[in-house]
Amino acid sequence: MHVSLALLLTAGVLIACGIYLVLERTLSRIVLGFVLAGNGVNLLFIVAAGPIGSPPFEGSGDPESMTDPLPFAMVLTAIVISLGITAFGMALAYRAWQLFGHDEVPDDVEDRRVLRRRRRRSEDAERLPWSQALSEEARRGAIAHSQGLGTGEDEDPLGSDLTSAEDVPQDATEADEGDADSLREAMRRRREHRRGDAAALRHEIRDRTSDEEDI
């Protein structure tokens, strides 16, 4: 089988760059990495299509000299799919940015728990060297500490890290954001929009206010 070296090399470079980006910590770069890697893989399909031939139109020539059209059909499908997934990935990154102010991928919850437990055990012993801390943020904190910009001795560097899943409020949604007034404002607008649901909304507002009282 003839293989185009140029195509193969391009695919290799694209995939390598893609993998490099996927290893980054922010979601938007990871999404870009997948776009690159996906394009590289699509080129692999074109390599798999074999040598270059004439356009595969019915009756336009000798079928033997035509390019194999099947891989191109697959590439088209793959492109459409990756378009959708990329859009979702970007939306997810944007939502993370809205909620946390950054779109860093969180550490594994178990890893953090193990680290925390070890810290608790060695509380009286010396602090962990910075290379053993897990997260980028903790590392930054440790560097700042070593340069005398540090936070208080008893402050947990993990506490400042928003990527810890435990710091995140459980299941607060967009509706929970903002103060109660704006929420009621939104409710009123929705009520005008749909009068039929008035009872349900009143129930909802009662729930909200009782939630606030709990807090």
Binding site: G38, L44, I85, L92, P106
Partner: protein, 531 residues
């Protein structure tokens, strides 16, 4: 009759489109979704009946030749998977409908829930029915894309966090799968599975192995097999209970189904069966250790899910008919029981307000019905006789004894140990959530449990009990399915014609020996590994 094959994919997609248009009418949406799933369940039963009577069904879409066009194939295995999955999705949908009368209603945007759910069902059916690798990939993508949306319903902080890892890992596995398809096409010139079965037999062992490993990694990420399973316990527990139930029950099983096809149809008796067994053992043991260490109900269940994937891989790794049959039965059992457990966890969360085992307590007195609904599937999962989990595990262990190799004996020991540790993890949940002294908060929080939720959970339990009661006929069915899967000729013959099926080089006989052109190689696996 063949046209029925398209319906499990077409109907939910059509339903998704219509429910999306009806986004302001929640009740209508729900009704339509339920009707669609009931229709699919009926079709799956019909298909199962037809397949047992008349053999493998094939639909060539647009009458293209199988090597070029899209083919949908249903054999016994597919029909069983479709039946179980459509029942589970139906029960979970009914369960989730009650959440609109519970307090969680404002937190989930119901408008997109039903369309996405139906798309997920379409993706799952497509993956089961796909007759070619690329269509399998598209099925995977459809179900994954819907799972991304379902996992981030509401876009809350914890869900966005959990989904980030999940999306990255899933997309990575898709990229690996896609490049594997490109490699397969370059090597064999087709992506149709039946044609591949014929052509891959003639390839060099090295090339075969690379192709197989690439596909295996892609599928194993989806099935959450041990070294590739770290994403699962972090991403599943934050989703709403019904969504987690469907994910836990179905998505990983689609991966296992793909591995089963890979190891039997495409690469029969490959060189890597020891690798599969090792992965199975590690999944079993490390997964269950994770479950024992957890203090959150949903996380414990997620880790037992990772662990029990090992049982199914154990059966696949042995490649004997007994092992395959036990695996097929176990898959059906596990889809049901794991989904039921997550539904029960949803009930507990509804009553107790949390799934944290330290905060829960006293539910046995406060909510005896929930206690029963949790107890039965939990015992089933742990493999206490007479439930289906016990039957499946006994089948696997019997197959392991018949297999009679060192790896088989080690795996038997690990699976017995895992079963015990599962019981321990379950007992821990039971002690904490049901027997522990309840806090004031839980006693004060007297929320009525909607009948629909308990009803749907009861229906799932009834289904799992039916798997126990009809274990005899089902095992026979699974045995026939395993036989036809290992023979390969029924599948290939139905898609390409009997002539092509004659070109198959390898098949596996009842004793799990590899047959090469009709010559039985004694201890074929050992020779393969040595060579």
């Amino acid at each position: 009759m063949e046209l029925l094959l398209a319906l499990p994919v077409m109907l939910p997609l059509l339903g998704a489109a219509i429910t999306l248009l009806l986004r302001h009418h929640t009740r209508l949406q729900l009704g339509l979704a339920v009707v669609t799933l009931v229709a699919i369940f009926t079709i799956a039963l019909l298909l199962a009946w037809h397949v047992t009577q008349h053999g493998v069904l094939v639909l060539q879409i647009g009458n293209w030749t199988p090597q070029l066009g899209i083919v949908l194939v249903a054999d016994r295995l597919t029909a069983l998977m479709l039946t179980v999955s459509s029942f589970v999705t139906l029960a979970v949908l009914v369960y989730s409908s009650a959440q609109s009368v519970s307090e969680n209603v404002e937190r989930t945007p119901v408008a997109i829930y039903h369309p996405t759910y139906l798309t997920l069902v379409a993706g799952v059916s497509m993956a089961f029915l796909a007759g070619d690798l690329f269509n399998l990939y598209v099925g995977f993508e459809v179900l994954l894309a819907s799972s991304y949306v379902l996992l981030t319903l509401g876009g809350s902080a914890s869900r966005v966090r959990a989904a980030t890892t999940y999306v990255i890992v899933s997309v990575l596995s898709s990229v690996i799968f896609l490049s594997a398809i490109a490699a397969v096409y370059a090597a064999a010139g087709t992506v149709n599975m039946a044609e591949l079965a014929v052509r891959l037999d003639g390839l060099e062992p090295g090339t075969r192995m690379i192709l197989e490993l690439m596909l295996l990694v892609a599928f194993a990420i989806k099935a959450a097999i041990f070294p590739l399973s770290a994403w699962l316990p972090d991403s599943y527990p934050t989703a709403p209970a019904p969504v987690t139930a469907v994910f836990a029950g179905l998505l990983t099983k689609v991966g296992i189904y793909a591995i089963l096809r890979l190891e039997t149809l495409l690469f029969p008796f490959s060189q890597i069966s020891n690798l599969l067994l090792a992965a199975a053992g590690l999944s079993l043991f490390i997964g269950i250790l994770g479950a024992v260490a957890q203090t959150d109900l949903k996380r414990v269940l997620s880790f037992t899910l990772v662990s029990h994937m090992g049982y199914m891989l154990f059966g696949i790794g042995m490649v004997t008919q007994l092992g395959m049959a036990a695996t097929i039965y176990y898959v059906a059992h596990h889809i049901t029981v794991q989904s039921t457990l997550f539904l029960a966890a949803g009930l507990i969360e509804h009553r107790g307000g949390t799934t944290d085992l330290i905060k829960l307590g006293g539910l046995q007195k406060l909510a005896p019905l929930i206690a029963v609904l949790f107890f039965i599937p939990a015992m089933n999962l742990a493999g206490i006789p007479p439930f289906s989990g016990f039957i499946g595990k006994v089948g696997l262990i019997e197959a392991g004894i018949a297999y009679d190799r060192t790896s088989g004996w080690i795996l038997i020991a690990v699976s017995v140990l895992t079963s015990l540790l599962t019981l321990y993890a379950i007992a821990k949940i039971w002690n904490r959530a049901f027997w522990q002294e309840p806090s004031e908060e839980i006693i004060a929080r007297d929320v009525p449990t909607p009948r629909v939720m308990t009803g749907a959970t009861t229906a799932m339990i009834a289904f799992s009990l039916a798997l126990t009661v009809f274990a005899g006929p089902l095992m026979t069915y699974a045995d026939e399915a395993a036989h036809s899967v290992l023979q390969r000729t029924p599948y290939v013959g139905a898609v390409l014609g009997d002539e092509a099926a004659g070109d198959l080089r390898y098949r596996i006989d009842d004793q799990g020996q590899r047959v090469d052109n009709g010559i039985t190689q004694l201890d074929g696996a050992a020779q393969e590994v040595g060579g």
